[in-house]
């Protein structure tokens, strides 16, 4: 089974070739990817816990999200760039990997959850900014975010243990690369 032409051309692109042939490239890309991901997760957790009314209850929701989300976005951008480099290096393997597909789906869901929150719930934030416990819709967004981002990280780790579309968890190579 062959992946679509676009996937094949990404894999055979100069950047894909360079990443595969340069020994130090993947360790660097991989380390930076993990660094970005832990920053995304840790900073979103702070915001989610505030939305859930579990921490920073005396602090305005807007203050918590403003102080954290710049870090979140910068780290997310870094994760996307390094993640794209992973993909370029082994595009067809990722294309057929179920954990990879579910991870992308989970990121999409996280985005939808964030957009709904941003453009519906957060628009009226002045009304509940200082509430120790935000309204149900905000708490739901926080809980979903926490759940989805946890899934993103778990699925990311599962990619390293799966090959192609096989669902059984098997170590693929000696370095358990992501």
């Amino acid at each position: 089974m062959n992946p679509p032409a676009i996937i094949q051309s990404i894999e055979s692109s100069g950047i894909g070739e360079w990443l595969r042939s340069t020994e130090i490239a993947m360790p660097i890309v991989n380390s930076l990817h993990v660094l970005c991901i832990v920053l995304v997760y840790g900073s979103i957790l702070v915001v989610d816990l505030r939305l859930l009314g579990l921490r920073d209850r005396a602090r305005a929701v807007t203050a918590v999200s403003t102080e954290m989300l710049r870090l979140t976005w910068a780290a997310f951008a870094g994760a996307v760039v390094t993640g794209a480099m992973f993909f370029a290096a082994n595009a067809s393997t990722y294309w057929f990997n179920n954990a990879f597909r579910f991870k992308m789906l989970a990121i999409l869901l996280a985005g939808i959850n964030m957009l709904v929150f941003q453009f519906v719930t957060y628009r009226k934030v002045e009304a509940w900014d200082r509430n120790a416990s935000p309204p149900g819709a905000a708490r739901l967004a926080g809980a979903l975010s926490l759940l989805i981002w946890t899934a993103v990280i778990v699925l990311g780790r599962v990619i390293g243990f799966t090959k192609g579309g096989i669902e059984v968890i098997v170590p693929t190579d000696e370095d358990f690369a992501f």
Binding site: M26, P27, V34, L35, I37, L45, V46, E67, I169, D175
Partner: protein
């Protein structure tokens, strides 16, 4: 007894065998480990940014410490536990890399400095001195290094070349 012998004998302990027998356990432990790295690193970063006056500047430092320290310590405990189990499951893969060895040393320094900082923060709520700022920047760099080294374990020979002890095992980076 060399470290390699210790690692090899650890590999055949019943606990190590048991951990390896459950196919999903290592990925699960690694996932929890990474999630906890996120909790620990961002908690540390929040406190560091407060010391530098870049975050929650209007909030007293002891209060910021009280908010984030429990996450830091709890995350660290879970991280250490999952890390220890992963090391028992794959002792040769971990112990026989330079990245792991440096990481463990840096981690010990990181824990000791956090404990010292925690003791200090309760007695002195004074504005951050120049020395403290430098110490905080060094701490951020330290944890960055710990995280990057954690991932480098899987690529020890690519990262360290001839310095990596993996070479002496005939290239078997299990």
């Amino acid at each position: 007894m060399s470290l390699e012998q210790i690692a090899t004998s650890m590999q055949s302990t019943s606990l190590s065998e048991a951990l390896k027998d459950i196919s999903w356990l290592v990925p699960a432990l690694q996932s929890i480990h990474i999630l906890m790295v996120g909790v620990v690193f961002v908690s540390m970063l929040a406190i560091a940014l407060r010391v530098l006056g870049l975050m929650r500047a209007e909030m007293p430092l002891p209060q910021v410490w009280t908010r984030f320290a429990p996450f830091f310590w709890t995350g660290l405990a879970v991280m250490a536990l999952t890390g220890a189990l992963l090391t028992i499951a794959e002792p040769v893969r971990e112990l026989m890399t330079l990245s792991f060895r440096i990481k463990v040393v840096l981690l010990a320094i990181g824990i000791a400095s956090a404990a010292a900082f925690g003791r200090g923060v309760r007695v002195a709520a004074a504005p951050a001195s120049g020395g403290l700022r430098v110490a905080v920047l060094a701490t951020v760099a330290l944890w960055l290094a710990i995280i990057l080294l954690g991932r480098a374990i899987a690529y020890d020979t690519s990262v360290w070349g001839g310095w990596s002890p993996v070479k002496s095992l005939g290239g078997a980076a299990t």
